[in-house]
Amino acid sequence: MKPRHTYILVAYLFLGPALILLALFTFLPVGFNTYLAFHEYNISDGSATWLGLENFEYIYHEELFHSALKNSLIYLLIVPIVQIMALVSAKLVNNQLPGMTLVRATIYIPVITAISIAGVVWGFVYKYDGMLNGFFSWLGQHTWLLEAGELIEIDWLGDPDIALYATMAFTCWKGVGYYMVLYLAGLQAIPREVEEAAELDGANAWQRFWKITVPMVKPTILLCTLLSTIAALKAFQEVIVLSKGQADTYTALYYVYDQAFKNFVFGRSAAAGLVVTFFCVLLAIAQFRMFREKD
């Protein structure tokens, strides 16, 4: 038998490539971002001047950042919605029914569609004379809720009361397929016998879902919830392609982008980015506590 330290060495050798990549593309940028958050950085000569907490003080008093952060936190509402939709879809497509492959592909297609293309398409859906209003108008006219020729013209992306929610709906559509695949893997790891035993004991589908499926995919739920929480807090691309941050859809990461790439104030941008990271970490801790296995 080989000595214990040989096994440890082999383990680290296997971990090595991943650790190097993580260090280069995750830890190093996060560390540099933290460094920038306390400095004023000049891109043309790469010089950085120590500012202490000045950048944090600035964003603490910046109302636009507060409202952007508020919008990012509202965005978290999609987390449970996406998870429920993804879990239910996974449960549905996990059955051996005809056409399920097509259903799986249909739900997954938004994931592989480039966000810019999907954004352009959804722009047409959300236009005041677009597909969604067209559908509602047709529905209203055929159910006599609207008079003939009367049209619904909701400004989905221009009305500040609904624009953020319209953008969130787009994120849900785009993300469900991704989490569905993860849940599907979790579901397929549940032994068939467990379900069959419950069935023999007289448990109905609802009871089996809550008492067997959900507890057994708990680690997947934790992973998916974490990922979608981070994605929600990082919402930026969907906002830029759909509403351009107008109509109260400006998110915290949009602020980070604006400060870096429009104002070129990289230190302030890094500080705002660090605040978003702080919220991500805080929520991750809360989720780990909520979903951890009880002894």
Binding site: I43, S44, G46, G123, L157, K262
Partner: protein, 424 residues
């Protein structure tokens, strides 16, 4: 077996090595443009000509989308790999120059090369008496309109003032039910928003380090736009209609007029030939600001980190020479040059009475060129431009869409600007 002398093997090898070393000595002079890939043959020809005339240099053309160019340049500069030249508009040139991210083009600040360009173009690119860009192409807005809708609305004469234009727009909506025009209120491209309208109408935006837009005249303008919005003269999604969407709306008959650069007509010709055939063109009236609407000068700037300034200057002067500017204008059929001789070429007015709307548009635009100033705020006026413009635009959107009285929106925006400018 016959033996070959060693030199027979060595000669080709030596020749190859020499050729290789000659190739290795060439300095790459990369230049970036945005959204000009449809004109690839022109750029390929330019690169070929430049490389032939400069054996030690190798020009390399890279085209990208307009929204990629700034982030890519910033990352390239941060990585120490700045290109030689970058295609910039005037606001970007001023912004980057003020922050010290561009090299002043000394040959244009006081050199003989100044004579090549229109003085108005060099003025646009000057920051603190130094020129920071080689003037490239320019544009001004023209009005392209749907003849059928104009005839249905009973409009016979061209508007000579902005007020007449607005009166006709109202008439179009009233008589045809189709929104008349989209006033470029979307701000993503950088050439939209109420700031530009204030300047076009001759109203101040910033004066003596304070917001100057909280006056009854400004309120009147915003209220008139709000009224146009309420009555459907301008479309409901005016705040999201950028260039592309404006062209698409006009092409599909959802807008009676397209008030943008003449390049848009090329798109209409491709997208909807029938609409193109029933398009007529006229110049956009000049208002109290005495500037042409939609002037949007492009330039080539040299980023700070690029070491071989001489090579970059050589390429910049070549790409913006009379010959090359006239060539791109002819190639694109819609761009206007910013070099003197090229502007005076008979090509621009030749299509005045042509049957082709694009040619008439070119002549109409050329007529407005003497008023072609890019609307700009005073240098360094806004200490946190991204945030301040965002807040201002939000207030204007609320006022025009009827969510807030115009007076209150302007007062709130002015108070915010003044507070930030006082802190600077």
């Amino acid at each position: 077996m016959k033996k070959h002398p060693v030199s027979l093997y060595c000669l080709p090898l030596a020749a190859a090595l020499m050729a290789g070393s000659a190739f290795a000595q060439k300095t790459t002079v990369e230049f970036w443009t945005f959204n000009l890939s449809p004109f690839a043959p022109y750029f390929e020809e330019s690169v070929k000509k430049f490389n032939a005339a400069n054996p030690t240099l190798e020009a390399k053309w890279v085209d990208m989308n307009w929204d990629q160019i700034q982030p890519k340049l910033i990352t390239a500069m941060a990585a120490g790999k700045a290109p030689a030249l970058v295609n910039f508009n005037v606001p970007w040139t001023h912004e980057f120059a003020r922050k010290g991210h561009l090299q002043a083009i000394d040959t244009l600040s006081n050199g003989s090369n100044r004579a090549v360009y229109l003085p108005v173009a060099l003025d646009d690119l000057a920051v603190n008496n130094k020129v920071y860009g080689f003037p490239f192409y320019n544009s001004v807005s023209v009005i392209a309109y749907n003849k059928d809708l104009f005839s249905k609305a009973g409009i016979k004469a061209q508007p000579t003032t902005f007020n007449e234009f607005i009166a006709q727009a109202r008439q179009i909506k009233e008589k045809t039910g189709v929104p008349a025009f989209s006033p470029k209120l979307a701000t993503k491209s950088g050439d939209g928003g109420m700031v530009r309208w204030f300047m076009y109408l001759g109203l101040p935006v910033v004066q003596n380090g304070k917001a100057a837009f909280n006056t009854p005249e400004h309120v009147k303008v915003v209220e008139s736009f709000a009224d146009l919005y309420r009555s459907g003269v301008i479309p409901k999604d005016s705040f999201r209609l950028e260039y592309e969407q404006e062209v698409a709306s006009y092409s599909s008959g959802k807008l009676a007029m397209m008030t943008t650069s003449s390049t848009a007509l090329k798109r209409v010709e491709v997208d909807n030939k029938a609409m193109y055939q029933k398009t007529e063109v006229m110049p956009f009236p000049i208002a109290e600001g005495k500037m042409a609407l939609g002037a949007w000068l492009m330039s080539y700037v040299i980023p700070k980190g690029y070491a071989n300034t001489e090579a970059a200057t050589k390429l910049g002067l070549f790409l913006t020479s009379d010959e090359r500017q006239l060539a791109i204008a002819r190639f694109t059929e819609t761009m206007l040059p910013s070099s003197k001789k090229a502007t005076e070429d008979s090509y621009f007015m030749a299509g005045k009475n042509s049957n082709e709307p694009i040619e008439r548009a070119r002549a109409a635009a050329a007529q407005s060129m003497k008023y072609a100033r890019t609307p700009m705020l005073p240098p360094n006026a806004l200490p946190d431009e991204a945030t301040m413009m965002k807040l201002f635009n939000d207030q204007m959107q609320m006022a025009i869409e009827g969510r807030k009285p115009a007076q209150k929106a302007l007062a709130d925006a002015a108070a915010d600007w003044n507070r930030r400018m006082a802190k600077k």
